[in-house]
Assembly symmetry: C2
Homo-oligomer: 217 residues x 2
Amino acid sequence: MARKPAEQTVNRDAILLAAAGVLQRHGYAATTMKDIAAQLSLTAGTLYHYFANKDTLVLAVLEMGLEAGIARIEPLACADTAPPVKLRSMIAAHITGLTEQPAIGAAMVFELKALAQVAPPAAGARPKDHHDFAAFSEHRRHFFKRRDDFENLFLKVVKAGITQGDFRAIDASIYVKTLLGAQNWVGVWYRAEGRLNGATIAERMADHLMYGVMSLS
Amino acid sequence: MARKPAEQTVNRDAILLAAAGVLQRHGYAATTMKDIAAQLSLTAGTLYHYFANKDTLVLAVLEMGLEAGIARIEPLACADTAPPVKLRSMIAAHITGLTEQPAIGAAMVFELKALAQVAPPAAGARPKDHHDFAAFSEHRRHFFKRRDDFENLFLKVVKAGITQGDFRAIDASIYVKTLLGAQNWVGVWYRAEGRLNGATIAERMADHLMYGVMSLS
DNA sequence: TTTATAATCAAATCCAGATTTGATTATTTT
DNA sequence: AAAATAATCAAATCTGGATTTGATTATAAA
C-alpha cells in the first residue's frame, strides 16, 4: 500500500542537510523556506510535506547537528584514558567536526534566543496548531537538555582531571564555558578556503586550550 | 528656529540602548520595531524619525557596542606595560564590559550574516531607497573594518609578547581567535542573576586564557 | 492492473511586521 | 505672540515570506 521511500526522491535528512547549509550561511532571519527548497530543486510548499513549519524544521536541523556533535565526543569522553588525553581529543574532534559539518556549527552558535521565544498559539487557533506547538515545545526542551549533556561531557572530564591532579584546581565550570566559546566560535569564522585546514586549526586550538588547565608539574 | 533636543524626549542614543537590550534578549529575527518602541513607550513609526529603517538601526546598535568595546580596550593596548600585563587587563576589561553593556554583547556575537546579506534595492526603487542603501553599505563596510581593528588590538599585543619572549611561540592568529571566541561567548551565557558577577568571571577566564600563552619560564 | 499513498507542484491565501502618511502637540527662537 | 521645526501618534499601506489548498504524477503493494 504505502509507497516506500524511493531513492530518486528527497528524504527528510536531505532537507536537513540542505537547511543546515543555508542556515549556517545566511543565519535564521535571512533563511527562507524557498531558499532551502531551492537547494533541493523543490518548491517551498513541498517542505511542509516533511515538516510542520519553519521552526520545527530549524529545530530538527539543530538537533541533528547537536547529536552529531555528541556522537563525536561521547565515545572519547568515555574512553579509558587519562583526562588530559581525553580532553585534548575531545577538543580536537569537536573543532574538526565544526569545520566539516555545517549542521554542527549551526547547532552550536545558533541564536537559540529566537527559538526560545516561539510563543504558543492563541487560544482560538486550530487544533493542528496546538498540536504542532506541543510537539515543538517538547523537542525544544529535549534539545536544551541535550545541550547540557554536551557541556557536561566536557565538565566531567575536567573535574576528573582536577581530582586526579592532572589539571590545576580551577573553576571547572568557567573553564568549560571558555572552552566551548572558543570552540563554537570556529563555526563562525572558519572558511574552507582559509589559510589552515580544520585539523590544523583543531590541533593548535587544542594546544592553547590545554595549556590553560594543565598542572605545571 | 530648530527645536533643541529637550530632556524629556527620547533621543537617538536612548533608542540604541533600548534596541541593544531587546536585540540581546530576543535576537534579530524576533526583534520587532514595535518591541523596541515599546521599551521607550513609543510607537513603532516614531523610530523612523531617527533611523531610516530597521537594518540601519540595528547596524547603529552594533556600531555603538563595538566602539564601546574598542574604547575600553584600546587605552589598555596602548599602555606602556609588558605584554602579559596588557593582555590580561584587556581580556578582563572586555569580559567585564560584555557583562555590563548589552550593546557590546550584541555587537560581538551578533549574526552578522544577516546584515551581510542585505541586498541593494531593485533598479526601479525610489531614490530614497538607493540613498539609504548606499549609506547602509558604507556603514557596514566601516563596521567590519572596526571589527578587524578590534581583533588587531589583541593580535598586536600577542605578537609583541611572543617577540619579547613573554609568550610561547604559538600561532598568534589562532590564539586570538580562541581568545575572542571564549570572550564573546560570555555575552551569550552570562546572566546577571548567575553564580558569579562579571568581574569574577572576567578574572577567572583571563586566568585560563593567559595560561594558554605564557612562556613556562 | 488496480488501489492507495507518497512526493510534488502551481497558485492562492494570510499575516505579521516594516514602512509611510497626514495630522497633532510641544518647544525653541526671534 | 508668531514662526519654524521637532517629536509623536494613530491609522493606512505594502510586502515578503510562511503556510494552505487542490490537483497531478509516480510507485509500491495487493
